[in-house]
């Protein structure tokens, strides 16, 4: 059990207090006084005043004090395992003999670690002050927490960061407090580790680097061609200490082993784009240039040069010239004796294409001979393609796999990398933005692997800062703006209003089907209130019913009202997917088929996915869709995960339409035959139970009755009036004329669908004729009577 003893009389406490009292103006005075004593004393000695010796020698006192401050008082080293032995000097020096938690909060907030938490987590001085007690007896509990956190996080001191977290932990309801800030205790511990990492990094950067000196390359050859056609990574190395994730460290170690031992001197770093293959090569270049690193002599001070395929191709346009040029460049690298060639995106050197060229014939013998050290980087897909085309080439390579980074690694890499972005963009990232960048990029960024995808999003969030601070909200905004999706909880007043009145808004453009409208509205409300399961689509619905009753219309209305337009609907006619091989069309790569389901969802994840006439799709296609319905994920042909977790998936089917009509005609209500009807669908093998079970709701649409059809007529007429509004004309159809339109347009099998045609024929044609004859002027209302409609429909049917 660790002692929490806080000794206010210890030497370390006394030193820390003196260190705090020696503020920078005081230290400046010390230097000034010392200098004056020295100069004055020497002057006195020069003018033959013996007292000058003593005056000059007194300068030793302020100089010694200054040196003591810099070497000891500023950062008194850790002495014992008690609180006063571990507490960082800048805090210890500020505390009295019986400090209260409020005193601790004040001290913590005034030092770097506390300020770090204020900036990165929003735990400000006033916030700490509000949640801490002013009773000295509560301090012991804070010390206990602080000691535990210091041990758990591996911190050297009880720093301002450790103390801040300890004070938070001592607040009785700290969990809900943190939840309000979108944080939990693990995040705070990660924050302490982050602070500690930055502290060590800044200490490390103070240490001078040893890179061999001015005569390092005397024994190695000149490399003019390599300088022209490549980038020397070793020249860029060592500018700033960078963090190496565990997977990167492993890959760098493998590179060192490959090049440090005998055997073929090449390595192929294979991994998805964004995993950090190029960063690994940079880290390797950095490490072999470090004079202090324990390395085989044959590797030390070697330089890594990345060849630029574009400049090579540009310099040798003629046939056969390029091979000659590459041989010259590689020959130079071989002769120089200290060059490791890096072919980044190595596929550019092994396939014909724009900006790429197939140099297999030149490079294969070199790789097989193993005389020249070569590092290749390529993604898994390209590696497989090359291995299919040229197995000999793959056999000649030493493969090193680079896996995508884990969440913790990605967060740590972001913490390290954001230093550069913060410097360049003059912004400050909060911890919440990092966690949000990981979460959102994992879901929405498909073209890169971790950590690249999170870093990409984090960088783009720099443009959405609030007063220079990049928060979780900034990251949400970045992804919402770039991908046109909604990821945050509904905050906007307009949106909230829209969500609460969703049914009314939808009913403005479709009649009845109240149950269907209600279930989709509920699903959306759940999603935007943040209470849904994030690992599934917003909602999955199967709409069953006869044609022309509003199934597709509801999907369109939803896309329009909520997702921002009918174009936010991904519509697939499943009668085009009736063969097993159609599965590949469903999940095709966007580059080959932009109309595939996965390609459209990648482009527009926030949408309504309408799978029309689902019963016509091949069972294999339905099986492929199971994971989409279940987990909101579908893998495309390139095995990339495509998210449907921000989509509403609606499948429609006419299956059993006649049965629905029968039930309704028998006078049964929807709820009364719903379950029985679904059982019938399963028994008749129209749908498999495991498929139906995947939907959140199976909604049956009932056929429309004549009064409802009159309302549909009103909707269609409203649409026509909207079109005519441009010409400042409107129409008014008499009630008996409407009934006639319903009579002529209603078809029990086709529902309301023929109605639009009938209205178009009757009303639109009448209006068009009147407009062309010049009998209608802007601002007038065209009255359409029963007789006019009847006449027109009769004449059309006769013709």
């Amino acid at each position: 059990m660790q002692s929490t003893f806080y000794n206010t009389k210890s030497v370390r406490t006394a030193k820390a207090r003196l260190g705090v009292r020696l503020t920078s103006p005081l230290r400046l005075i010390l230097l000034l006084v010392g200098s004056l004593l020295l100069i004055g004393g020497i002057a006195l000695v020069v003018v033959h005043v013996p007292a000058g010796w003593f005056v000059a020698s007194l300068a030793a006192v302020p100089f010694m004090l200054y040196a003591w401050y810099a070497g000891d008082l500023k950062y008194p080293p850790v002495s014992t395992n008690s609180v006063d032995g571990l507490l960082s000097g800048d805090i210890l020096g500020q505390l009295g003999d019986t400090p209260t938690p409020k005193d601790l909060a004040k001290a913590a907030a005034s030092v770097r670690g506390g300020q770090f938490f204020a900036i990165r987590f929003g735990v400000t001085r006033s916030f700490l002050n509000d949640i801490t007690s002013d009773k000295p007896e509560d301090t012991e509990k804070v010390w206990q927490h602080a000691l535990t956190i210091q041990q758990k996080t591996g911190s050297v001191h009880i720093s301002g960061a450790v103390l801040t977290v300890a004070l938070l932990e001592c607040f009785p309801d700290y969990e809900s407090l943190l939840a309000h800030m979108h944080l939990d205790l693990d995040d705070l511990y990660a924050g302490v580790r982050w602070y500690e990492m930055l502290r060590l990094l800044s200490e490390k950067t103070k240490e001078p680097r040893r890179t061999g000196g001015i005569a390092r390359d005397f024994s190695f050859g000149y490399i003019p061609m390599l300088k022209r056609f490549g980038t020397n990574l070793s020249e860029q190395a060592g500018n700033l200490q960078t963090f190496e994730s565990a997977s990167h460290k492993k890959a760098v170690d493998q590179l060192l082993e490959t090049f440090g031992n005998g055997g073929r001197q090449n390595a192929a770093l294979v991994g998805e784009a964004g995993t950090g293959k190029t960063t690994i090569v940079h880290a390797f270049a950095d490490q072999i240039l470090d004079a202090k690193a324990k390395l085989p002599a044959s590797l030390k001070f070697r330089q890594v040069i990345m060849l630029d395929s574009a400049s090579l191709i540009a310099a040798a346009p003629g046939r056969g010239e390029l091979e000659g040029l590459v041989m010259q460049v590689l020959g130079e690298a071989y002769d120089a004796k200290n060059i490791i060639i890096c072919l980044d995106n190595a596929q550019l050197f092994f396939e014909e294409g724009v900006g790429s060229v197939d140099l297999t014939n030149v490079l294969l013998p070199i790789l097989e001979a193993g005389g020249l050290r070569v590092i290749l980087t390529m993604d898994e897909q390209r590696y497989l393609q090359i291995s299919q085309r040229n197995p000999a080439l793959i056999n000649a390579l030493n493969r090193i796999s680079v896996a995508p980074a884990s969440r913790d690694e990605t967060i740590a890499i972001m913490q390290n990398q954001l230093i550069f972005t913060e410097y360049q963009r003059k912004v400050t990232y909060m911890y919440q933005s990092l966690a949000e960048a990981y979460r959102l990029s994992e879901r929405y960024v498909h073209d890169l692997a971790m950590p690249g995808r999170a870093l990409k999003l984090l960088e783009s969030a720099a443009s959405y800062g609030e007063d220079g601070f990049i928060t979780g909200n900034s990251v949400q905004q970045a992804i919402e703006q770039t991908m046109n999706i909604k990821v945050g909880v509904a905050n906007d007043e307009d949106e909230r209003e829209k969500l609460l009145n969703l049914e009314d808004l939808i009913h403005e453009r479709m009649i009845n089907q109240t149950r269907a409208v209600q279930v989709v509205s509920d699903a959306l409300r759940r999603a935007r209130a943040g209470v849904r399961n994030e690992n599934r689509p917003i909602g999955t619905f199967l709409f069953l019913g006869p044609t022309g009753v509003g199934k597709t219309e509801l999907s369109k209305a939803l896309a329009d009202v909520y997702f921002g337009g009918e174009d936010r609907m991904i519509r697939l006619d499943m009668n085009e997917y009736v063969r097993p091989e159609d599965v590949s069309r469903l999940i095709a790569d966007g580059a080959d088929d932009p109309a595939s389901l996965t390609a459209q969802a990648m482009k527009q994840p926030f949408s309504v996915v309408l799978l029309d006439e689902i019963e016509k799709a091949h069972p294999q296609v339905l099986t492929t869709l199971l994971q989409l319905l279940d987990e909101g994920i579908l893998r495309d042909i390139k095995n990339r995960e495509v998210s449907f977790r921000d989509a509403i998936v609606i499948a429609t089917s006419n299956a059993g339409a006649d049965r629905i009509r029968e039930y309704i005609e028998r006078g049964m209500k929807l709820q009364e035959f719903e379950q029985q009807f679904v059982d019938e669908l399963i028994n008749s093998n129209q749908f498999r139970p495991e498929f139906l079970n995947r939907f959140d709701e199976i909604v049956i649409f009932r056929p429309l009755e004549k009064p409802e059809l009159l309302q549909v007529i009103d909707l269609i007429l409203a649409g026509i009036n909207k079109q005519l509004a441009l010409q400042k004309i409107s129409i008014h159809v008499a009630d008996d004329a409407k009934e006639l339109l319903v009579e002529k347009g209603y078809d029990p099998r086709l529902g309301a669908r023929p109605m639009r045609r009938v209205v178009q024929r009757a009303v639109e044609n009448l209006v068009a004729k009147q407009m062309l004859s010049g009998s209608v002027e802007p601002g007038s209302v065209i009255e359409i009577t029963h007789d006019q409609v009847s006449q027109l429909l009769e004449s059309e049917s006769n013709s």
């Binding site: 030497v11 006394a14 030193k15 003196l18 004393g41 000695v45 020069v46 033959h48 005043v49 013996p50 007292a51 000058g52 010796w53 003593f54 005056v55 000059a56 020698s57 007194l58 030793a60 006192v61 100089f63 010694m64 004090l65 040196a67 003591w68 070497g71 000891d72 080293p77 001078p208 040893r210 890179t211 061999g212 000196g213 001015i214 005569a215 390092r216 390359d217 005397f218 024994s219 190695f220 050859g221 000149y222 004079a291 001070f301 002769d335 120089a336 004796k337």
Partner: protein, 127 residues
């Protein structure tokens, strides 16, 4: 408390402080040795300079002989350049060591300087 702090100052001055000073000096010396690539120069003293004429040559005896002469010349030039640099580096390091020794002596003497000053004053020493 004041006495305690004064004692601590002297303790630090001749223990941790002195250690820190020596470490700093060692680090600077190490930097100079690295800057002039002293160990590399010694290890590769007779290596061909910049790999000039260092490659293998096939051909007649005459060609091989000329290649050997070229290689020897390259090695000789390399040795001369390296020796010059070794000399410059060596002198710099020696000067630095002398300077560092002075710094350490001053460091050691600094706490007793007021006493020495007092004695000189009382003895009336002047130029």
């Amino acid at each position: 408390m004041v006495m305690l702090l004064v004692t601590e100052l002297f303790k630090w001055w001749y223990e941790a402080g002195l250690r820190q000073r020596i470490q700093k000096i060692a680090l600077t010396l190490d930097g100079t040795i690295d800057y002039f690539s002293m160990d590399l120069l010694l290890k590769t003293l007779f290596a061909p300079f910049r790999q000039i004429s260092a490659g293998k040559v096939d051909g007649s005896l005459d060609v091989k002989f000329r290649a050997l002469i070229d290689k020897l010349t390259s090695r000789a030039i390399g040795a001369v350049v390296r020796l010059i640099l070794l000399l410059v580096g060596g002198v710099t390091i020696v000067l630095q060591i002398v300077l560092d020794l002075i710094v350490i002596i001053v460091w050691l003497a600094l706490p007793i300087l007021p006493i020495i000053g007092l004695i000189l004053w009382l003895k009336g020493v002047s130029f």
